[in-house]
């Protein structure tokens, strides 16, 4: 949902204006579109890594059932808090996600990529802030065919309320007075569980990409 009129910045020459020339409507529309595009495209990259030699595994943390496999999804990787941008409609900027993963023995597994506010709960499959991937390959690959989220490979928060917090900060470097600022603190996490029922099933995470996106 690009909120600008032109999906790009419109250039204008400062020299063409006199100091007290009135701003006409066409110019105002251009500035309005520029402001919207600026805010749209200020979306940030939250996580971006790939580890082909030393992937992440949390098998030592899994709550194992009597088959020796994890009984329920467990957290494998997490970003840290970032200031999640919010759209004019009250939902968050979408998080464009990509996960590179494999199993150790080719048995079935499920991964869930989620975004949640600092006070939010871990979402279930199918919710807008969770993308679920089913896979089994023991060859590392970027996963495709995720279900849930916005239906297009993105996840987001329905509102910023679960992420809003007040944080102490400085007003400026000089004189250094302090104040509080509203902070929409979110994290991106990877949860997973082997579902094949085999002893020693493990999930390996070889890469994560998560970036804010204004969305369509």
């Amino acid at each position: 949902m690009s909120t600008s009129l032109f999906e790009g910045l419109i250039r204008s020459e400062a020299a063409q204006w006199d100091a007290y020339a009135p701003a006409d409507t066409a110019f105002a529309r251009g500035l309005a579109s520029n402001a919207a595009h600026l805010a749209d495209s200020s979306a940030q990259v939250v996580a971006n890594w790939r580890a082909d030699d030393f992937p992440i595994s949390r098998d030592e943390d899994a709550a194992l059932n009597d088959l020796g496999v994890a009984a329920r999804p467990y957290a494998i990787w997490s970003s840290q808090l970032f200031h999640h941008r919010m759209r004019p409609d009250g939902t968050s900027y979408r998080i464009r996600v990509r996960v590179r993963a494999a199993t150790v023995n080719g048995n079935a597994a499920v991964i869930r990529v989620i975004v949640r506010g600092s006070s939010g709960v871990v979402p279930n499959a199918g919710e807008i802030n969770a993308l679920t991937y089913s896979f089994s390959s023991s060859t590392p690959a970027w996963l495709t065919g995720g279900t849930g989220g916005d239906g297009s490979g993105n996840i987001y928060l329905r509102s910023g309320s679960e992420a809003l917090t007040d944080r102490a900060t400085l007003i400026s470097l000089s004189p250094g007075d302090t104040t509080t600022v509203r902070y929409t603190a979110s994290i991106v996490q990877i949860w997973g569980v082997p579902t094949g029922g085999g002893t020693g099933d493990r999930i390996r995470i070889y890469g994560v990409h998560a970036a804010e996106y204004i969305g369509t």
């Binding site: 701003a23 990259v45 790939r50 990787w77 970003s79 840290q80 990509r98």
Partner: protein, 354 residues
Amino acid sequence: MTLVRPNVAARFAVPYQFIRNGEPVSASDWNRIAADINYAAACGRVIVPSFKPDTELDLSDGDYTWTFSIWLEPSWQAIQRLAFTTYRFHNATGGIIRANGLGAVDVLSAKANNLQLVTVGAQSTTGTAVDLTIDLTAQQENGFCSVDGIQIVEIPRARLADDANERGIDASVFTSGQPIAWSLGAEDIRDATADDAQIGRRVLLHYAEPYKTSRQPSPATESGAGGEAVTSSTFVTVRGGSGSPVLARKLRTTDTTRVVKARAFARASSSTTTGEVRFVSSANGAASAITLDGSVTTDFAWSSAVDLTVDCEDLATTQGLQGAAWDEVSVEARRTAGAGNIHVCGWVIYEAGP
């Protein structure tokens, strides 16, 4: 100078429907336009996207300090940052590790987090390198530590100055019933958005692994051995650098690509060894080479920046991809002369500042 209080909790909808030919634009509509710019300027950026070093750090008895070099491309608006590190410990015997003053950490627990709040010394948009260290004490043999994430974010601003650096827009000049003149508000909005190279620019990819290891009681500081050593005379993919998704901001309506900057943190092992590091975009085939000359780079150092063309977002598509395909950037290196190695220990790809 006025200090503007931006709303960093949510944006406003820009009221295009009320900006019509032949009718004046109301002060409240100008206010909303200004609010969008203030929002973007105040939010703070992710200046090191979370990344995992593609290495494990061996442990035995002793005190360790691992040093990572981090390249920071700051926003002028940012005055405080948060740096996070997350790491885990493994060993075969269930010993105890102490880390960063956290006390005894059971090695079987998942992870230890470390958080540092940093107030910048001076506001700047000039990139700079800083060292990030992880200190811990190990009390067992045959363990190892893996760093799961390093991430640095800027804290949002509660107030912005309405000057040419912080770009806050003072909306009090938009008075109901008064015409909006160029020098009273419109100029500030135009300047903030005309050729934006500051507000909201992205760091697209950052990678680092320890370039220096200190271990006590073993006295040696192991310096310069970090990173992957490359001896091949043809380009080979460097550890952790084989194809990471990169998607830049779209600046103009018809843009499909954007030229961004790339730097490598590398060294040649001797003064007679030379080599190259290059970045390859899967979508654009562009390769920008950084030449490493051993006579000046036998110590690890960040290279100068080179241009790299990558895809920019297509805002009409569901994930912003150009042609439904991810642009993946690979990092490659080779030795071009001499008998030694080329060590590559980190890199960064970012949108250039002013």
